[in-house]
C-alpha cells in the first residue's frame, strides 16, 4: 500500500514551533515551498540503500 504523502505545511508549522521559529508566520508560505523542495531533494538521498557499515566521516580529535 502506498504511503500517504506527508502534510508538509503542517510539518513546517509544527516544527517551526518546536524550533522557536513560529513567530515567523509571514514567511511560512515561502518556507513551506522551500521545505517541499528540500524534501524532494532529500528523497534522492533517503531512498538510496547504503551498506550498513557506512559511517559518517567526522573530524573529531578528543
Amino acid at each position: 500500500m502506498e504511503q500517504p504523502k506527508p502534510n508538509w505545511k503542517e510539518y513546517v508549522e509544527q516544527t517551526a514551533k518546536l524550533m522557536n521559529l513560529d513567530h515567523t508566520g509571514e514567511y511560512l508560505p515561502e518556507v513551506t515551498n522551500n521545505f517541499v523542495a528540500i524534501a524532494n531533494i532529500a528523497s534522492l538521498v533517503m531512498e538510496f540503500e547504503l551498506p550498513e557499515d557506512t559511517e559518517i566521516a567526522p573530524i573529531f580529535e578528543p
Binding site: L21, T24, Y27
Partner: protein
C-alpha cells in the same frame, strides 16, 4: 581604464626590480577602484590607509636590497567574509554590520601579506555565501563585467568580477558548493578550489563547515601557482586544516603531460547543459587528445546530499538570528535558512553517510584516471533578476541549478580548477579540471599546458 600589466607575476617582477614603485601601483589601483567601482559594484570596503602604508614598506625593502616577497606590491581583494583587522566582517549581511571590527586578519590574508601582497579591500557576495548569483539585497548586485545586464555568479561574485574587470590581479573567495568555480566561469577567469583542508579557513566566516573551502581567482595559471604556494600550510586554528606537507614541486610545470591519464565525465555531467557548454568541454578534451570518458555514479544524489548538509549546517549557524530577527536577513537566503532549520536529523545523517560512500566510489575512479574534465556551469551568465532558464527543453530555476556540476565535487573535497573558455562574440564559460585529493599539481600542469595552447 584598468592598469597595464598582464598579471600578478609580471607586476611583482616589476616592483621587485625597482622598475615601478609599489606606492604608485597602489595609488593607481585605488584611483581605478574609486572610478569604476560605482558601476562594477565589486568592492564593499576599501583599505586605502593600510594599503598605502604597506606599499611604502615594500618600496623601502626594495630600496635597501631586502627581499620584498614573491608577491611584492601586488594589490588584492578578499570576499567580505574574510576577517580584516580593524574592519567588521559583514559576510554579505546587514546583521553582521553590528559586530565589532575583526582583531586580526584571516590566516590567508596574513600569508599573502607576508609574501608582499597588498590588501586593498573587501568584495561583494551573496548573503552568508548562500547563493550563486551575488544579487545581494543589502549591497546590490555585482553585474558581469562582460555584460552588465547579467550576473557575475556567486557567492564570490565580487571576487570574480574584480579580477575579470582587472581592478586587481587576484582575489580570494570561498567555495562550499561552487562559489569560487561558478563565478569564475561566468566572469572568464581562473578559479581554484584546492582540496578540502588544504588552505586555512581561520578568520573566514563559514556557511557549512563540512564543505567550506578557501579559493582564489586569477587571470593566469602562473599566478595561481604562486598563490597556491603561498597559501598552503597547516594551521592549528582551523580544525580541518591538513597536516600533509605543502606541495612544492612546481618545477614540473611546463613539462610533458602525457603521464597524466585524463577522461571526460559523462552521464550526469554530460546532461543538462547548453550546446555551447558541451562544445567547450569537447574542445578542451580535443586539445588534450582525450578520448576516454568516465561516469561518476550517483552524482545527482551527491548534489542532493550536499544540498541537505549545507541547508542544515547553514541554518544551525544562524539559528539564533533566525529566531530573533528574521526580518534582517536577505529574503533570498532567509526562507531557505528557515526551511533548513526544520530538516529531520536523519536526513542530515544519511547525507553525511552518503558522502563517505560517494568518496569511495570516486577514489576507485581515480585508480583509473588522474584528471577528469567536466563543465563548470550549465550555461553562460543568466540575466540579473532572471528566475528560470530553459536548458535542453527543460525549464529550471536559475539559483540552485548554476551549481549542478560543481556541487557533487566539493561535496567530497576534491581539488578543482575552473579554467576560462573565452571565444569572441560569446560570453565566457568554464571547464572544471578535477583531480584526486591533494593532486593540485596535476591540475596546474594541465591548466598550464592548455594556456600554452591558447585555451584560456
Amino acid at each position: 581604464m584598468s592598469q597595464q600589466y598582464q598579471d600578478a607575476t609580471e607586476l611583482a617582477a616589476q616592483i621587485r626590480s625597482g622598475k615601478i614603485s609599489a606606492q604608485s601601483v597602489i595609488e593607481a589601483t585605488l584611483k581605478d577602484i574609486h572610478n569604476r567601482n560605482p558601476e562594477l559594484n565589486c568592492f564593499t570596503a576599501i583599505t586605502a590607509e593600510r594599503a598605502l602604508a604597506q606599499a611604502k614598506q615594500i618600496d623601502n625593502k626594495v630600496a635597501v636590497g631586502n627581499d620584498p616577497g614573491l608577491l611584492a606590491g601586488v594589490p588584492f581583494g578578499v570576499k567580505n567574509l574574510f576577517d580584516i583587522a580593524g574592519i567588521t566582517t559583514i559576510a554579505g549581511s546587514a546583521i553582521n554590520r553590528e559586530y565589532p571590527p575583526a582583531q586580526q586578519d584571516a590566516t590567508a590574508i596574513t600569508k599573502l601579506c607576508q609574501a608582499g601582497a597588498i590588501l586593498v579591500g573587501a568584495l561583494n557576495m551573496d548573503e552568508y555565501a548562500y547563493g550563486f548569483v551575488t544579487e545581494n539585497s543589502h549591497y546590490g548586485a555585482t553585474p558581469n563585467p562582460y555584460d552588465s545586464t547579467r550576473i557575475s555568479g556567486g557567492s564570490s561574485g565580487g571576487s570574480a568580477a574584480a579580477v575579470s574587470a582587472k581592478l586587481v590581479p587576484f582575489t580570494l573567495g570561498s567555495d562550499t558548493n561552487g562559489s569560487v568555480r561558478v563565478p569564475s566561469a561566468l566572469c572568464g577567469v581562473y578559479g581554484l578550489k584546492p582540496t578540502y583542508g588544504r588552505l586555512s579557513r581561520k578568520g573566514a566566516f563559514l556557511l557549512s563547515s563540512s564543505l567550506d573551502h578557501v579559493g582564489a581567482f586569477t587571470n593566469s595559471v602562473r599566478d595561481l601557482v604562486k598563490l597556491f604556494a603561498v597559501l598552503q600550510g597547516y594551521d592549528p586554528q582551523d580544525p580541518v586544516s591538513t597536516k600533509k606537507p605543502p606541495e612544492s614541486n612546481f618545477s614540473v610545470l611546463g613539462n610533458d603531460i602525457t603521464d597524466l591519464r585524463i577522461a571526460v565525465a559523462d552521464g550526469y555531467f554530460a546532461e543538462g547543459s547548453t550546446p555551447e557548454v558541451k562544445e567547450a568541454v569537447a574542445n578542451v578534451a580535443k586539445t588534450l587528445n582525450v578520448t576516454k570518458s568516465i561516469a561518476i555514479p550517483q552524482s545527482h544524489r551527491a548534489r542532493a546530499a550536499a544540498y541537505i548538509i549545507t541547508a542544515v549546517e547553514g541554518a544551525n549557524l544562524h539559528l539564533e538570528k533566525l529566531q530573533s530577527r528574521p526580518q534582517d536577513f536577505d529574503p533570498a537566503t532567509r526562507d531557505r535558512f528557515l526551511a533548513g532549520a526544520l530538516i529531520p536529523a536523519s536526513w542530515y545523517a544519511q547525507a553525511q553517510k552518503f558522502r563517505s560512500w560517494y568518496r569511495r566510489q570516486v577514489q576507485e575512479i581515480f585508480q583509473q584516471v588522474d584528471i577528469i574534465l567536466a563543465p563548470t556551469t550549465p550555461c553562460v551568465a543568466p540575466k540579473l533578476g532572471q528566475e528560470t532558464m530553459t536548458i535542453a527543453g527543460v525549464e529550471m530555476l536559475v539559483r540552485p541549478n548554476l551549481g549542478r556540476f560543481t556541487q557533487p565535487l566539493s561535496f567530497i573535497g576534491l581539488p578543482v580548477l575552473s579554467i576560462p573558455i573565452k571565444e569572441s562574440n560569446r560570453l565566457p564559460l568554464g571547464v572544471q579540471i578535477i583531480a584526486a585529493p591533494y593532486q593540485e599539481l596535476s591540475i596546474l600542469r594541465i591548466a598550464d599546458f592548455l594556456a600554452a595552447q591558447d585555451i584560456k
